[in-house]
């Protein structure tokens, strides 16, 4: 199936439409809530929660003996939340730092989950087939009811986000100050964490336990590069997340059914890479360009002001001087002379140069201009 065929199929084929819609909504909610995780510097929490969800899924299967995605969600939610509270408990009650607590809980829960999975696979129960798809996700298993669940959860979190926008922003920026103003920070904290857990649990079926945290963090990290406004960042992250979902599904469906989860995550990764390099304000490329341009300009200005010092010793400012006398000035090149001549600051005749009136004037005001430009910025 090629890409064009796929696009036609999205509108006609029920299954493909469900999957595309599901991954798009999942991407949007993960991007939205992931922004909060990133700004709270709790990026790794998502990773720990998703890994901690695995034993919950396995236990839900052991209890029921069948695959039931609603029960799996519940199991994942419960064990994800238990993992989260243990992490918080460890950091609060012991001297261990949060990275240690996260790493510990992540590995312990994941290890336990894997143990249960291998145990389940040894059972003579035919139903267990496909349970391991929770490791890396399988978008093909998405049903319409799953998509509805995602829509409802996204809607609820959107309403709560808008309702408590002011309080959440305050908490993200300055938690202690939030407390002094009389807001219940514990409530806000639990609100954010719960939503992050819910988003992760929703994505497990599609993206899988192992890769889920990338889904949460990548769109937010990419969005941060493009804006300095929190609201725009959250919206952009949702758009990036949704696009990753749609593009990832399209690529995986049109290429021999490549595993959807990894493809979606790689697409999200591509968004991050592009943002890191090409975003205008914070991107590496434009920063480098600005840096070089500034340095070149400065070098040119230094040369000009050196010439100005020489020219101003003479009564006639346009009196020709030998280029040789510039040789003891570091940073001067033939190229920079050429550039200065292009700007009509100086004139070059053979081995001599002379300053123009405009060059003299510019050089005289150079320092003042630089200072002013800094203030205006």
């Amino acid at each position: 199936m090629d890409l064009q065929e796929y696009i036609e199929l999205v509108f006609t084929d029920y299954t493909l439409r469900t999957i595309t819609l599901g991954t798009a909504i999942l991407g949007a909610i993960c991007g939205m809530l992931g922004s909060f995780a990133v700004l709270r510097k709790q990026s790794l929490l998502g990773d720990a929660i998703s890994h901690a969800a695995l034993p919950g899924i396995a236990i839900a299967f052991l209890v029921l003996g069948t695959k039931n995605s609603a029960a799996f969600l519940l199991g994942a939610l419960v064990s994800g939340l238990i993992g989260t509270f243990w992490i918080r408990g460890i950091t609060r009650k012991t001297h261990l730092k949060s990275d240690t607590a996260l790493g510990l809980i992540l590995s312990l829960f994941f290890g336990f989950g894997m143990l249960l999975l291998t145990y389940i696979q040894k059972q003579p129960n035919a139903n267990q087939a496909g349970l391991e798809s929770y490791l890396f996700g399988q978008a093909a298993t998405l049903l319409e009811s799953d998509v509805w669940l995602m829509i409802i959860v996204t809607g609820i979190s959107l309403v709560i986000l808008l309702l408590f926008w002011k309080e959440l922003k305050l908490l993200l920026f300055d938690p202690e100050y939030t407390k002094t103003l009389g807001f219940n920070t514990k409530f806000l904290d639990i609100l954010i964490t719960t939503f992050i857990v819910v988003a992760i649990v929703l994505g497990l079926q599609t993206v899988g336990v192992v890769l889920m945290s990338a889904m949460l963090l990548a769109p937010a990290a990419a969005a941060r590069q493009w804006t300095n406004n929190l609201a725009i960042m959250v919206i952009l992250a949702a758009i990036f997340g949704a696009s990753s979902g749609v593009l990832g599904t399209a690529i995986s469906a049109s290429h021999n059914n490549l595993s959807t989860g990894p493809v979606i995550v790689l697409v999200a990764g591509a968004f991050v890479l592009i943002s890191f390099v090409f975003s205008p304000g914070r991107g590496l490329l434009f920063r480098e360009i600005r840096f070089r341009k500034n340095r070149n300009d400065l070098q040119l200005h230094k040369t000009l002001s050196f010439m100005y010092d020489i020219a101003s010793t003479h009564e006639d400012i346009s009196h020709p001087h030998a280029i040789k006398i510039l040789n003891n000035f570091q940073g001067f090149t033939r190229k920079s002379l050429q550039k200065l001549e292009d700007k009509n600051y100086i004139k070059v005749h053979g081995n001599m140069w002379s300053m123009t009136a405009s060059g003299f004037h510019t050089a005289a005001n150079l320092y003042n201009q630089l200072v002013k430009a800094e203030e205006d910025e």
């Binding site: 922003k169 920026f173 300055d174 202690e176 002094t180 103003l181 009389g182 807001f183």
Partner: protein, 245 residues
């Protein structure tokens, strides 16, 4: 003379783990003073402020704002935290941070409107930062960030101001600008409590001082108690400071 007490602290003891950070503090801060809290690193200066503001739960003791608990008197109190306590790369503008000072009086859910924006702009003007209102906060210098924090507290329009090292890492111009605002606040009858590090400027800036080193060493008017004896007791070395008065 009967003085009104703005902040009353009784038997306050705070500990993070096993070691007490504050030990049995009794302190009465009269209304309308501009007070410095001085003491060495680890003396519990920030902790004292945070306990009064209910950010940290004490092990024992009580703090009262005009005779009632902080919870009831919240609207009378404004706070300027240490500049380094937040991430200045947060995606927001100077004006937006100052607006946060209005959130407390707005309460839950209600959004700031024109009235709040006007108050924030006035505060920005007062600290000389009006032309920076749309600047992303990471692009502000340390001194400018400190002024933004001060403006955010001014917007709260409180009676008592707590400030944690507002002069840390700011240049002489900003320091002068800030102290002038603090003196204006005192002139308007407000009480201002400042964690301060530069002992040389205490007599010039403040009229009241508290020496703190886990225990309270002394508290009172600068002209009476700011002397080598108390400095030595607080800092543990033979301290000599030239007092310009």
């Amino acid at each position: 003379m009967e003085e009104k007490i703005a902040v009353q602290i009784d038997d306050l003891t705070v500990a993070y783990n096993y070691k007490p950070v504050l030990w049995d503090i009794d302190l009465a801060i009269p209304e309308g003073v501009l007070m410095a809290i001085v003491g060495p690193n680890g003396a519990g200066k920030s902790t004292l402020i945070k306990s009064i503001l209910d950010i940290i739960k004490p092990i024992a003791g009580s703090t009262k704002i005009y005779g009632k608990s902080y919870k009831k008197q919240r609207s009378l109190v404004a706070y300027v935290p240490q500049k380094g306590s937040v991430d200045w790369d947060f995606p927001t503008t100077a004006l937006d941070v100052v607006m946060m000072g209005t959130y407390g009086s707005l309460g839950w859910i209600k959004r700031p409107g024109q009235k709040e924006k006007k108050a924030a702009l006035e505060a920005l003007e007062k600290v000389g930062m009006l032309s920076f209102k749309h600047r992303q906060i990471s692009q502000l210098s340390g001194g400018q960030q400190q002024r933004i924090f001060l403006a955010r507290a001014l917007v709260q329009n409180a009676s008592i101001y707590f400030m944690d090292e507002p002069f840390q890492g700011v240049d002489a111009t900003t320091e002068k600008a800030i102290i002038n605002i603090l003196k204006e606040l005192r002139k308007a009858g407000k009480t201002v409590i400042v964690v301060h590090h530069d002992l040389q400027t205490v007599p010039e800036y403040f009229d009241w001082v508290t020496f703190l080193n886990v225990k309270k060493i002394a508290t009172g008017p600068v002209k009476d108690i700011f002397n080598d004896d108390n400095l030595t007791k607080t800092y543990g070395i033979n301290y000599k400071v030239s007092i310009k008065q």
